[in-house]
């Protein structure tokens, strides 16, 4: 790694911190890449390093390339269930997975703040590497910039993902049709409340852990059981779309789907899984779990005929053990998302308005 590049002494991961030279393009930056990033992201095979970009191998015949990007500014950087490193991998891997693509490669852009501890950076980068290996994706190219103290907040990470979409597969937020069923892979609000419990102005003690996870394997299992409608070439069958309800929560994701597909949505409140700790914390803070962020959950819309098959496939996977059918797509020119409340009434479930919690991911 550092062979041929003589550094006087190795990076001081105990007491050292990021300084402006680490982003200046000189030897200090090269040392950071060689000693900190490259070993953490090792494990790649096909991609040569050291060039300005990565040349990727050809895709299989008929496959199309899918690209997705996501910036991460979460605060705090470390939280129960993950950190900004693993989150930056999961976020982008999930965006690819929701398209039905097999995630393959990531790029990683770092904006570091002067004074940020090299030890903490090493922890974040190691966690990123672990998450990438676990998800079977390679981090093949990257960039590092440093901003003066006070101009950033430790570290911001942007990842761009590149995946392969099998021939014939098509999933889109525009594909939902009246009569389709809506499935949710598990409980909502875990990530948002885990972050919230650590915020200095709130700080409450809880055992809530972020659900941050890569969902491509769960998606693969689901698609194996219920391929997309276009693959089946039958409009009455198959999977229509996948979405991960991150910022804005389940409510915002469902409103996006309703608008994109030009349909309405009807939910059953009692069917939506919420962990008791999350429900209690939301109650305490006056939040609605429908609007709280998730980082390891998906919403699937499928033709009614395939509902049971899809539910069984989700539940058979550890990340979908608590999956549930939460509602259905309706015909509605106003594209309302409505909910039958557990209390016996009805209500609209509107878009999130304003900012519930800044810098959640």
């Amino acid at each position: 790694m550092s062979r041929g590049r003589p550094y006087v002494r190795p990076l001081d991961l105990k007491r050292g911190c990021v300084d402006l030279s680490h982003g200046a393009g000189g030897r200090a930056m090269q040392q950071l890449i060689d000693e900190l990033f490259v070993p953490a992201f090792a494990g790649g095979t096909a991609v040569a390093r050291g060039d300005d970009g990565a040349v990727l191998p050809e895709l299989a015949y008929g496959e199309r390339a899918v690209i997705a990007t996501d910036s991460h500014v979460v605060s705090p950087l470390f939280f129960p269930g993950g950190d900004i490193g693993s989150l930056s991998v999961h976020g982008t891997v999930n965006d690819l997975a929701m398209m039905g693509a097999r995630p393959l490669y990531l790029s990683a852009g770092f904006v570091l703040e002067e004074g940020f501890g090299l030890g903490e950076l090493a922890r974040i980068v190691a966690s990123m590497g672990r998450a990438a290996r676990a998800a079977g994706v390679q981090i093949v190219t990257g960039d590092t910039k440093v901003v003066e103290q006070g101009k950033g907040d430790g570290v911001f990470i942007t990842t761009t993902g590149f995946g392969a979409l099998p021939a014939g597969r098509a999933l889109s937020g525009a594909h939902a049709r009246p009569g389709d069923r809506i499935l949710l892979s598990g409980s909502i609000g875990d990530h948002g409340m885990a972050i919230m419990s650590l915020r200095e102005s709130l700080a409450f003690e809880t055992e809530i852990v972020s659900d941050s996870a890569a969902l491509h394997d769960l998606v693969a299992a689901l698609l194996a059981a219920v391929p997309s409608s276009s693959e089946l070439a039958d409009p009455a069958r198959g999977l229509r779309l996948l979405r991960d309800p991150t910022r804005g929560g389940l409510a915002s994701t469902l409103n996006e789907i309703a608008l994109q597909s030009g349909v309405g949505i009807e939910l059953d409140e009692t069917a939506i899984p919420v962990r008791p700790q999350v429900a209690a914390a939301c109650e305490f803070l006056g939040l609605d779990p429908l609007y709280v962020a998730n980082e390891g959950k998906l919403v699937a819309v499928c033709a009614a005929a395939d509902t049971d098959r899809a539910l069984a496939a989700l539940r058979a996977h550890p990340l979908g053990a608590d999956a549930a059918i939460i509602g259905e797509i309706t015909d509605d020119p106003q594209h309302f998302v409505q909910m039958r409340t557990g209390f016996g009434g009805r209500r609209n479930v509107d878009w999130l308005s304003g900012e519930q919690l800044p810098r959640i991911c």
Binding site: S201, L202, T270, P276, A279, A280, E283, L285, D288, Q334, F336, Q338, T341, G342, F343, G344, G345, R346, R347, N348, D350, S353, G354
Partner: protein, 376 residues
């Protein structure tokens, strides 16, 4: 969730709904005002209106602390944060209330003002201790529920001799608002607002007790049922109001007996009277200038009173001409009667204060109840 789910039980709700439907006379109209924003929110969020027969109608009252805050008070807070360079702390919903010049506290923050959202008055005090070189002002709003904590931090600040902390006091009083509505021409003479009874405040009553409402029941012949903020509380209170109306009774009844007693929290009342005194007059959004309807900080705490310390003058600012918040807060109009509702006034871009807080009548209807218009 223990102690919460019990009060949201759908089966029990059906039982009460059946009782209301059976007991409410079909050819009579029952109009009840829920005073508090907490009730407005519960009614909208849980779909309580769907469980009521057509002859029973709920009218949103003015009990949303953010909604009744006039533009002039927000302007004072913005002035402190932008021009005087203080750290201004306040409760979350207050940040989005529209003020003069297209500003709000949130927009002032984007322009560089140091504005912090806090969950309690104690957080603001702690911030002043943590940042002794900065001046910290707590923008204190709300009814009697939030008043005792403000009294407490003022006493603490004096005890600690904390000189970089002060309070911009905008605390208002519930009985004054109810009295103002009952005295308004719409209710008294014109009969445009037929109020048959009140769902009385929950949290406010834990502090002031149920006694202050006895006057309204007697003097104005209006039944009051104090109710908790859970949807079953509201349903039960509506049933109790229907029974009072049917029996021709005008009493103060207490559905929320698990938390409210007749005298309220005497200790809290004591603290409040040590620190605050009545203001001669205070401008409310919607209700206008109401005499003796708000609190100011006593002379003994003048040092910690932001109005005195920064020599703030109050300048009233009229609401947007087409905004019906005033009439909506008095129960004269429904949100959908306002031309601005859901056209230019939305939760993302509120023109009037009722669209700001989730407890505001307009925001609650916009967020939870728009499907109803279609059905109607």
């Amino acid at each position: 969730m223990k102690f919460v789910d019990e009060f949201r039980d759908g089966r029990l709700a059906q039982t009460i709904a059946r009782a209301i439907a059976a007991e409410a006379t079909p050819d009579r109209r029952y109009a009840f005002m829920e005073f508090c924003g907490g009730h407005t929110h519960a009614i909208s969020r849980y779909g309580v209106a769907d469980l009521l027969p057509p002859q029973v109608r709920m009218i949103h009252g003015p009990g949303c602390p953010v909604c009744v805050l006039p533009i002039g008070r927000i302007d004072q807070a913005i002035h402190l944060a932008l021009q005087r360079g203080v750290i201004l702390c306040t409760y979350g919903d207050t940040l989005r209330v529209p003020a003069s010049d297209g500003l709000s506290l949130l927009k002032a923050k984007a322009r560089g003002a140091d504005i912090r959202m806090v969950y309690s008055a104690a957080d603001a005090l702690a911030l002043a201790q943590a940042e002794p070189q900065r001046e910290v002002v707590f923008f204190a709003i709300g009814f009697e529920t939030t008043t005792p904590p403000t009294a407490l931090v003022l006493q603490q600040a004096r005890r600690l001799d904390l000189r970089n902390f002060s309070v911009l006091c905008c605390h208002v009083l519930t009985p004054s608002a109810i009295g103002n509505i009952l005295e308004s021409p719409e209710v008294r003479e014109l009969g445009t607002v037929p109020i048959d009874g009140f769902v009385g405040p929950a949290h406010v009553s834990t502090v002031i007790g149920s006694r202050p409402y006895e006057h309204f029941a007697e003097e104005y012949r209006k039944p009051v049922v104090i109710a908790g903020f859970e949807p079953l509380d509201v349903m039960q209170a509506i049933l109790m109001l229907v029974r009072q109306v049917n029996d021709g009774r005008c009493e103060v009844e207490n559905e929320f007996s698990r938390a409210v007693c007749r005298d309220g929290n005497l200790k809290a009342q004591q603290r409040v009277s040590e620190v605050f005194e009545l203001r001669k007059s205070f401008e409310w959004r919607g209700l206008g200038v109401v005499p003796y309807s708000a609190l100011r900080i006593r002379e003994a705490y003048a040092e910690w009173d932001a109005e005195r310390r920064y020599v703030l003058d109050y300048r009233g600012v009229p609401d947007h001409k087409a905004c019906e918040c005033g009439a909506i807060l008095r129960g004269v109009k429904k949100p959908t009667d306002c031309k601005l509702f859901a056209t230019v006034c939305t939760p993302e871009n509120p023109m009037g204060s009722c669209m700001v807080s989730s407890e505001g009548g307009c925001a609650a209807h916009y967020t939870y109840g728009r499907h109803r218009e279609r059905a109607a």
